[in-house]
Structures are given as C-alpha cells and as structure tokens.
Symmetry: D2
Subunit: 277 residues, 4 copies
C-alpha cells in the first residue's frame, strides 16, 4: 500500500535533502514529491507519496528530530476516506457523488446522507446508502445540530461534504471538525456571499458565473478556497438560466475538491490552501 | 456603406414584423439581425446591420411612427469611432490598443493618449500618436479634470478608454460622457472592488483571477459590465504573479469590449448591458 | 404549449419580414427568434419559438407559399423527445443521462438502454429503465444490427444516443436515421479519429484533450459536429489520466449536444451544424 | 544571480536525496524544485532553481559522479536568451514579442528579425530592432536558407522563433538547431496539419479552434508540443472570423511557450515535452 507523507514547517536550507535521505535510508520508493515554500511566511510544505515497507512510526520520529521544532509531520495510508454527505433539495452535486461512489471512483465511502428534507431519499436509497432525515423545523439550531452530531459521532467520518446543504452550521458545530467540512458555494467567492447568489449575479449583470468549493469555518462563505470554476453567461440568461448553468460547474468544482481532499493533497494554512494537485 | 440600426422600446407583438417590413420596403438588405426581449422588464432590444441606400432620416421616422411611444431608434454608419485613450504607467492594455490601431484593426482612430505620467510617452510617440501629459500633482481633482476636459472637448471623441488609468474620475466628469467611458478593472467584479485587487485576491487565496471591462458610472467599479475574463491560479502564485497573469486577461477583456462598443453592439440598460456579439 | 418553427431556404430580401408578419397575423407571440445566413452558400436558417393558438397547418401553408420554392418548413410542439440510449461498459455519459432523465431535466424520455454488455444493467434498472442486452459476439454485423433495429422500430425514437457505445454502426443502419443518431467521441475531432484516441493523444504529447459530440454518418467520426469541449493536461498525465480527465468533458459535451437536439435547435447542413443555442 | 540545474537520467531510488544533499553541501539555497518520473520510460527529470555561490563546474562533477551513467546535467545562469525572430506578413505574434521585449518582459534579447517580406519592417524598426529582409523568390530553398544561416551564425542565437513565418524549413536547416526553433501553428495539432488550417477547420464545421506552439523538427507540424490554446467558435464564424479569433490564441500560446523556453523549463524527450511551468 502506498502512503502519503505530509510535512509543513518553517523553511530552512536542506529540508528536502534531509527528508529525501530519510526516505531513501528507509528503503522507500518516492512515487511523487511536491513541495512549496510560501515566501511571505517563509513556510515549507511538502507532500510525498511513497511505496515500500518500513517502521512508519520510527521514520516519523527520524523526520521530526531533523526538522524545525514546530514541524508537523503526518503519514497516512492511501485508503478510502469515510464521509457523510449533506443535502437539501437539489440533486446535482449529490447525484454526482453517489454515482462516483457506486462505481468506486470517489476514493471515499459514504457512511450516510443527512438531509433536512425528504426529497433526495428516493435517489439515495437506490444506491443502498443510508438516508438520514433530520428536519430543522420547530427546533433550535442547537437541537438540530445535536441530532446531526449524534449521527456524525456514530460514523466518525474523515470528512463531511455539504452537497448543496441549505442550512448554516454554527461555529460550535464547525469547530468540532476543523478543515474537515467541505462546502460548495454557488458563486465565484468572494463575490456574492450569502443567499441567492445567482439572483445577485443576474442583477449585477455579470458575464461569468462561478462556483467555489471551500472548507467551512466560522465565517459564512469565508473559509479556505479549494477549487473554483467559471462559465460564460450573457444578457440572454435569466437568473434561473444562470442557476442551471451554475449547477454544471458546482458539480465539477466539488468533485475536484473532494478528489484533492480524499487523496491528502491539501494543506490549510490560515485562510488559504496549498494544493498539490 | 453598411449601417447599424439600434432600437429599444417596450415589447409588444409584431415589432419584428413592423421593423423588418420597413427595411424591406426601403429596399435594404439585412446583413445581421439580433433581438432580445428582457422578460423581467418586458423590454425589446434590436440591432440590425443593413446594406443599401435609402433616405435614412425618413426611414427613421417611418420606424418611430410604428413603434411604442418611448422607442429609441438610432441609425449609425459603420465607421471608425474617434477615441481618446487614458493610461498611467502600465503598458499592456495601451500597447495592445496602439498595435491594433496601427494595423487598422481597432475600428477606431486614436485622437490622443492622455496620461498623468510620462512613462508611456516613448511608446505612444513611436506610433505617431499625440501624447498629452496632464499631471495630477498639486492640483485639485477639479483642476486636473478641467485640463482633461479641455483636451477631450477639442477632439470630441465617441469613446474614452481607460487603459489602466489609475485616477478615479469624479461624478461631474463622468456625467458628461454617459456610457462613453470604458474602463478595465483588474479583478473579477464585483469581487475585489477598489485598489490593489490582486493583493486582495492573493490574501483571500482564490484559485481564479479575473478582469472586467465596464462602462464608468458615478460608483467606482460598479458600472455596467461589458466583458469578463478569468485565468486559473494556484498557491504558487505570489500577488505579483497574479498581477502578471492578470495582465494577459485584462488585455483580452478590454480588446473585446472595445470591439463590441466600436461596432455599436452594446445597449446599456440600467446597470447592465445587452450585447449582440 | 410553445411551438418551434424551423425554416431553411435560399436567402433573399424580406424573408424575416414575411415570416414575422405571418406569425403576427396569426396572432402568435414570438418568444425567441434567431436567424443565420450562411454567406458561402447564400442559405437562410431560422428558428422561432412562439406561443399562442392558431391553425398550424394553415400557417405552414401560408409560410411555404411566400418562401422560395425549395424552402423547408417544420413546426414542432415543444415536447419531450423519445430516445434510445446505447452503452457498452463505461458509465459516465450514461449515468449523466439517467440522472437528468430521473429528475425531469433531459427534455426526453428514455424508452430503453441497449448494450452489447451486461455491465450497465444494474445501474439502468435502478432507474426503472428497460435494459436491453444485445450481444455482438458470434453474429454478423447485419444480424447484430437487425436485433437493434427490431427494438428501435418498436419504440420509434426521435433520437438514438450513443453514450460510449463501442461498436461501429454500418452505413445501412445509419442511413435509416439521418441526423438522428448522436455520438460522443473521446477526442477533439478531427484529431485522433478511430480507436484509442487517448493513447494517440498521450503518444503525441498534446497539452489539451478534447471531446466531440456529433451526428453519426457513414464515415466514422466524420459526421456533423454539435459540441466540443477541452481540458488542459500536461506531461504528468498518463494515457489513463487523460482518459479520466476526458470523461468529465465527454459528459458535458454530450449533455449540451442533447439539450440542443431535444429543443430543436440544430440544423444539419452538409457536414456542418447551425445551432441556435 | 540565480542558476537553473537541469537533470535527466534513468530513474532509480534516492536520486532526489543525492541531488538535494549535493546542493545543500554546496551551501546553495533551493528556490524551486520540480521533478517528474515518466513511468512508461522509467526516466527522471528535474529542474531546480537555486541561489548562492559555489564552484559550479565542481558541483556538476559531484552530481554526475553520483547519478546513473547516462545522466545529462546542465547548469545555466538565469539570464536573457539571445533570439532571432522570423516573420512573414502577419503581425500579431511579432508585435507581441516586440512589445514584451521593449518593456523588458521577454527574458530574451532580440538580435534581429528575419523576414521574406518587407511588410513588417516599419513596425520592427520602430523598436530599433534590426530588420533583415531575405527574399525567397528566384532562389532554391538551399540558397534561401544559406542566407538565413549566415545571419544566424553571426548572432549565434539560443533560440529562433517562427512568429508566423510562412516558409517551411528544410531538415538540413532544422537539424542544425535541435530543440531550438519554436513555431506557432495556427491549429489545434494534430488536427489540420499543413496549409490553411482555418479553412480546413471552417469546412469541417468545428466548434473550437486551437493554436499550438511547438519545437520544429524534420516533420512538418509534428514536433514536440509546448503549449496549446483553444477558443469557442460557432456557425456564425466565417473562415476569416476563425482566423481573427485564432490570432488571439496564437499570440498567447506562443508567448507562454517562449516564457517556458527562456526560463529553461522545458525538457524535450522524443516527440514530447516535460514542462516545469
């Protein structure tokens, strides 16, 4: 089985030499190595996919002992992530994830789909995925989220995917899953934050619409961006036409973001991402 | 010589029938006809390019008499527009315009280039275009703009093109040239309004940069959008790299916008454009 | 119910005047009118979507009597097309069509899926669509196609969609359904005609891959092109990576082509298409 | 001054460790390191940009002694390349190169422009670049090329750039400058090889046009591809409109290719390129 080594630390001379020598001495075969130094912060990021057998925990210690003190080193096996998918009433992102999952192309296993509506049950159950209806009406946000948490804790997912989930999660909820909740926003962030972005876009008379996949943080639509996609539109597009055109790129933006996440290709740094795609 | 007929009015049944019959009865040959009905406002827009000879002012009366009362009808000969180009220190949009002008590809004639710096004089004078330096220092905005107005009034341009002109024009100035000043803004509007959009984009960690050509109105960067272009970027782009990449699309967005404008293809309606490209 | 009026004929002065007057006199409301004159052949194409009630067959006669003698006039109600979908072993285009169909977004009704393999049965039957296995082994092409024809004739489809169907249809078969069979080819035609285009593309070291949806004619991969899409690739893509990336655009190219076809937006003229998108 | 280290050799375990240790021991600072292993051929490619002072020829020996026997190691200073630009009658690629050169953005110094026509003299001489007219009429190809060679040898350029040069160079000529002649072809290669690609594209009814920058080899339009760009077109584009639209992407494709070449970012391997962009 391949493994992925992720390192981030302050930059200094010789880091690649030290890391690659350690991998070599452990008799491992580097399949792919990518690194980036952020010059503004003088910070080093590296992702290395390797093949071969060694004592991983010992190698991790070897690496840590040579790297700057605050270095963060993780080694993950290349295996499927456990995920929970959230949806409301729109199907296009959810459908795409279900189909990719069904044909084994998602690098993930969907533990269940959570929705505050029943609309998607028929589709989800076709694929023998558990559909978990959690209504939001007549509940406080805390009650609503506690019910979600109960399901989430049972499945202990690596990631939660908001595939057009139309409820805003509270900071309390979000803080439990840092850099583990991925949302698709139907605009080219940071333009058109908030509700009804296609209506906003239509009224502004824009000529390109966008979609943005991002990690969810406390600030609505302000989390680290993973992928963005755009489509040309023109005056002949109604707000509804923009919405339809936008769905095509929402699907693609989210699919790419999930692929990056599930292959351990993303570093989150402040409000940004470093992605070794 | 071809002519362009532009009509906009409230929509009602039979408009195209009336207009096309009138053209036919005037023995004109329709080369290209495009129309659009904005359903939200129930408004009709039409651009028709025709060939042939007739009494244009009589035909205009014929059209007006059959159309709804508030109809706006204009007939322009397809000929080069007179323009003034404004620049500051960056050359990429200005160069592009100068080159297209030199090879007769611009559908316009540059009467002069106005700049608040001397940096571009060398380039502009190579092409035998008048370079008009109007410094902004130690002047009120009103004084500065009055000097510009004096030059503008002398040339009476159809359009003024802000090709990376880094001064904000006052509402007083702008109001004299409604829908006749075209600006290139170095972001994907409405994201990153104002100064230093690439720095803003860099700090937000976006994955796509944009450029927007628009008509200038009283509200900074809020005028009707003509064209937008985008480019993919990633974490390896510094704010400066984004700026360089952005220049390529600024040039293209502005060039397309100018082509639309100079061929009478744009209707401005409220804060939007209808473009028959 | 809206209707779509399609006209193509030799160009002459006053065509739009005549047609739009006829619509007006029949008290119909034009929702969308697009026309194109191909200058090389001096041929006129028009698509007009209208609302309102009239005697359609009488109006068709009125139009025909005023148009050049060889004019082709058709009036179709805007309703769902009946289609048969063909697949082999790959799911991505088929999945997309099934999902859009399930949610009523396809403007078509899938009468059945025909495949020369059993691989897609599970997926298709989830959506309660008839799966019709017709193996090609140990049969002549004529026998194989006769079995397909028997199914096709039963359903009498408006269109047949080859959603990664890996068998080449004979001229005899194709000639029965002129401009009614739509194929998705996994390359940027006319580059990489024939088998294994991603392998060809990989070996040529190209930097952009493509996908092409087209009508099927006697000549393999040479029929009129409807839509094309491209994606950037680079040296790090294996032939297999190109194939995976290509699937995303194959899906989009086919989906757009089907939308154009099912909304009666395509004229086929010689080996080209005029599309009023 | 920064330097660029380029290595290509058969792949084996520990290459990055050896190379990065050598750089570290020479007290050099790695600014950017990118590597690629081509799995089909089991070949290793690396580009490393570094800062710092050392005995470069000694370091090259140190590297060579540790690498597989057939390893190719080069170390170039990051400095401007000397180039000769070839043009015929079209200006758009040439203009772009001249402008970038004038503003110091090209990473190259144009030694002269060679053309078989006089059309571009006016433009070129505006920028104080030597214009070298070498007519092709009434000469054998050998005579024509010998005159070009005489000029080329005088300037000894790093690269020759065919910026819409409409003469085909002989294998004899090309073989003198392996991987040093860059051409822009006005189609999406390998589609539409040879003359009049836009006419070919128009007649085929394609929906996307392309442009391809590539190294020139013995086989016309068959050399290693560096960059490709595409633009959407539709039925309303005449062959001439396609040509105009194509010029915009030809310019961009060539500009990017030149940037890659002049920054030593390209490996040519067989008929392909590995580009560390």
């Amino acid at each position: 089985m391949n493994h992925v080594l992720l390192i981030n630390c302050g930059d200094e001379k010789g880091l690649i030499a030290k890391i690659s020598r350690t991998l070599f001495e452990n008799n491992l075969n580097v399949m792919e190595l990518k690194e980036h130094v952020d010059e503004a912060s003088n910070h080093f990021y590296m992702r290395c996919e390797f093949k071969g057998q060694t004592d991983l925990s010992r190698m991790k210690d070897q690496l840590t002992s040579q790297l700057p003190r605050e270095a963060k080193v993780t080694i993950n096996p290349r295996k499927k992530k456990d995920i929970i998918v959230f949806a409301t009433k729109e199907h296009h992102c959810l459908s795409d994830i279900l189909i990719r999952n069904y044909f084994g192309e998602l690098n993930a296993e969907i533990k269940c789909v959570i929705s505050n509506h029943e609309d998607m049950r028929g589709l989800v159950e076709k694929f023998d995925i558990q559909y978990c209806y959690i209504g939001h009406e007549n509940k406080t946000k805390e009650q609503f989220e506690n019910e979600i948490l109960a399901v989430a804790e049972k499945h202990d997912p690596d990631y939660m995917v908001l595939a057009k989930f139309m409820r805003i999660l509270s900071p309390r909820f979000v803080s439990k899953f840092p850099s583990r909740i991925i949302n698709i926003h139907h605009s080219f962030l940071p333009a058109f934050i908030g509700a009804n972005p296609y209506k906003q876009a239509f009224e502004r008379g824009i000529k390109i619409i966008g979609a943005t996949a991002h990690f969810v943080t406390d600030n609505l639509d302000e989390g680290p961006i993973i992928t963005q996609k755009t489509n040309q539109v023109d005056h002949s597009f109604s707000a509804d036409d923009m919405k339809h055109s936008g769905r095509e790129i929402e699907r693609v933006a989210l699919a790419e973001a999930l692929q990056h996440a599930f292959e351990d290709r993303i570093f989150v740094t402040g409000n940004k991402t470093v992605i070794f795609g």
